[in-house]
Symmetry: C3
Subunit: 347 residues, 3 copies
């Protein structure tokens, strides 16, 4: 069960064109290509003739050419060429998906195209002109919800990330101030730890040495983005605006797009104010690999034993709020789609 | 659903003896061995004692010895030796399959042995004495029907084989003359393209340079052979007997034997009139690999999405005729086997 | 269907601690660790918080710490630490399994802990102080019963082990004297072959050359041990006490622990009276690999075709007795567990 009516991150803008991008999203095979006008289009990756993936084909001025018998489909999914045949049936078409290129991400709408509202695409509060931006993309063998939950329960830092962003921090995380609130579009988690020693990653990446105040601000935005604004400053200098005049602020956009029921694409962008260097992406990769090892083991365990006999603890508040939001949204989408069916029956 | 009453290519003659040949055909594990008289015999590859594959065993003068406890089975599948035991029950036997060695192929009959008629084995119109013969054998991860259909719709050449046998040929294939007819044993497809530039493979293999007439004559012979006779000659010199006095003629026997529901053995022999060289087999391999890449992607796509919402186009005529033939044959076989059951019940 | 109320070999004593041991037994994921008192404890390998395997965690003085959010479980499976939370619910616990360390093996009880009786652990008739002991541990992709059956039908030696312990022995094995009896705890098989040439392994390992008497004494002890006492002596010098004053005696403990329905751990120890050398373990490995090749092929065959249409032969007596024992024990366990349910309902 996935939310269909929502914008998911399909990938980075620069993954398309001249190359095709083939990616499975919500169990559906998608192919994206850049059309003759430079616009990225997304089609069902399955020719309507013999079901061969269109991603084996080539981009032509008129659209995407199937690599088996040469049928060409335009960006709306209509077949516009069949070899040796001038008349083309209107049934010769493949599904087209709304796709928007914005903030160096490709945003795809998996539900009813009539509902696709570009205003719902999350606003990314940085750009590569004024920030140092690092990127990461990996497919993780776990249910996308496990990854969302991971981000909304940060007491895992001193254990999963004991050598990087959580080193020597168990007591600090145990005593963190935590605020959780439901928002219009998801869940908002804010954590503050005051007067703590910096973890190794902060020392390595930002030269932190004395005691710091550290904050973590995470917004889960439905269906599947976590927008993180975190940072630290000298102990005692943190105010509530997240705009410290010492230390560092950094953003991470976590785009977590379901691939199948038990796998997801983790497509992320990190921005900070440091001069360009390879260290940032490397640090991001290392931290994410620590998560992935745990998450894939968790997925295998759940596949064998289910989710029964599990208990929640106090630090789970944001995770539980996230789960409730998703369940409500799924129920609302199911109800709306049933209403549509009734209306269609009445017509 | 496979046709059982028919001759399938199990492999090449020289694959058996002194070595065993273990191969799965129509979801059944088969072991073939050469008996003391030099005759190739085919048995169920499963000892009736503890279900161990007989192909782990050894050929003995009396038959095939199981590698676990030493039981020996003769070519009829009867057990003729049990260690330390002189009396042998008639129930100690494994299934034997009719097998005929002909034209350097092994032909196996998967249905009722009483119906196995050697006269139904397709006649191969060449031999390695007077032709240059190249061979190829590969297991393809697709339903055998996808491979048969591939051969019966040759408009795929300019796309799948754009670097080999179909290079620069889209317009020629779009304008090809096509004849399709139903035959007693399958489907006959004939295509002719006149006054065209030769594809790269013809130039490389046969030195073709000026404009040519090219013909493709393919006979699908049920249950699973395609006998191809193709060639080319100087433009304007083609007559309808396929016996041009210029250019080249070549044959391909495509033996396409189902392994499982989603895989098949592609066992093929190509004959032409050129002097011996490695180029022929290499060219065959390259072309087939181009097909295999598409077919395996098609199979994965169909496994995920089924065959619904597919449309046919004009060039599909032979493919559709092939599908109809197979469906009719399956229905007839099912009906005949039901009649058998009724007759048995009456007895 | 497995017997739960019984002691299985989980592994060797020296596999645990400082390292954890994670192993799946009877389809259940187990983690073993050595607690602060040096005692080996076995827990369900799944944190009750988010189902992550505890084997990703660390051993702490208080117990085993989960690698995700740091919850700590003691050897009884009770949670004794949650980060930032002082009160801990009694429901925060994981299953603990009775575990006994004895004779360099770890013995685990998979059923009702109230029934775990250490007196039922098989007595191992050797120790590494007075014997040369070699060890082997491998996971085999077959139902554990296939491996037990293999050990209880030794006419496979001249075929499966034709290059090692069964070389040149078909006639000898065909004429072996065999005694099979049901015991309180399993099945007892005794075989004697008199006046035979020694197999290659006896020549290589023990310098056997002239004619020998060879005996094989195997006790299947439910649920899943075979205790083997075998050996040989000069022809004519064997008495029935298995204590020949010439030749060699050796023991093998075959610990065969189901991992899943179609795989098992083969954990074995071999003891003889020779001076230390690597030859012993190497010989054991080689012989077991010969079995494994056959058993895994047998498993794949049974997975495809089931166990129907199989026949038994005369040498199967001990195997059949073993199967009967296991079936009876399974039926008794099922009945006892139903009685428990009825008694609970009455209370």
């Amino acid at each position: 069960m996935f939310l269909n009516n929502g914008w998911y991150v399909l990938g980075f803008s620069n993954e398309v064109g001249p190359e095709l991008l083939a990616r499975t999203v919500l169990n559906q095979d998608i192919v994206a290509f850049r059309d003759a006008n430079g616009r990225v289009r997304a089609l069902e990756d399955r020719c309507c003739h013999r079901a061969v993936p269109l991603s084996l084909g080539k981009v032509r001025p008129e659209g995407l050419e199937c690599g088996y018998h040469g049928m060409v489909f335009n960006g709306d999914g209509r077949c516009v060429f069949i070899l040796g045949q001038s008349d083309i049936s209107a049934t010769a078409c493949v599904r087209a998906y709304p796709l928007v290129e914005r903030a160096e991400f490709l945003w795809i709408w998996m539900g009813d195209p009539a509902l696709a509202d570009e205003a719902q695409i999350p606003v990314i509060p940085f750009d590569s002109a004024s920030w140092r931006v690092g990127r990461m993309k990996v497919t993780v063998q776990c249910d996308y919800l496990l990854l969302l939950e991971n981000l909304m329960d940060l007491t895992h830092l001193p254990y999963v990330h004991s050598a990087t962003i959580g080193s020597g921090q168990a007591d600090s995380h145990g005593a963190a101030e935590m605020t959780v609130e439901r928002t219009q579009t998801g869940t908002h988690l804010r954590r503050v730890m005051r007067n703590i020693a910096p973890p190794e990653t902060f020392a390595a990446l930002y030269g932190a040495n004395g005691l710091i105040d550290r904050w973590q601000d995470l917004q889960f935005i439905s269906p599947s983005i976590v927008l993180q604004c975190s940072g630290f400053c000298n102990a005692g200098e943190l105010d509530e605006t997240n705009a410290p005049n010492s230390g560092q602020i950094y953003y991470i956009v976590h785009g977590i797009t379901p691939e199948t029921d038990t796998s997801c694409h983790y497509i992320a962008s990190m921005a900070d104010k440091m001069p360009p260097s390879d260290d940032q992406s490397a640090a991001l990769q290392k931290v994410f690999q620590e998560d992935i090892q745990v998450l894939e083991a968790q997925q295998r365990s759940i596949a064998r034993t289910g989710k029964n006999r599990l208990v929640s603890i106090r630090s789970d508040r944001a995770r539980i709020e996230l789960n409730r939001f998703v369940e409500r949204a799924l129920a609302e989408e199911a109800k709306a789609s049933q209403t549509d069916l009734v209306l269609e029956a009445l017509v």
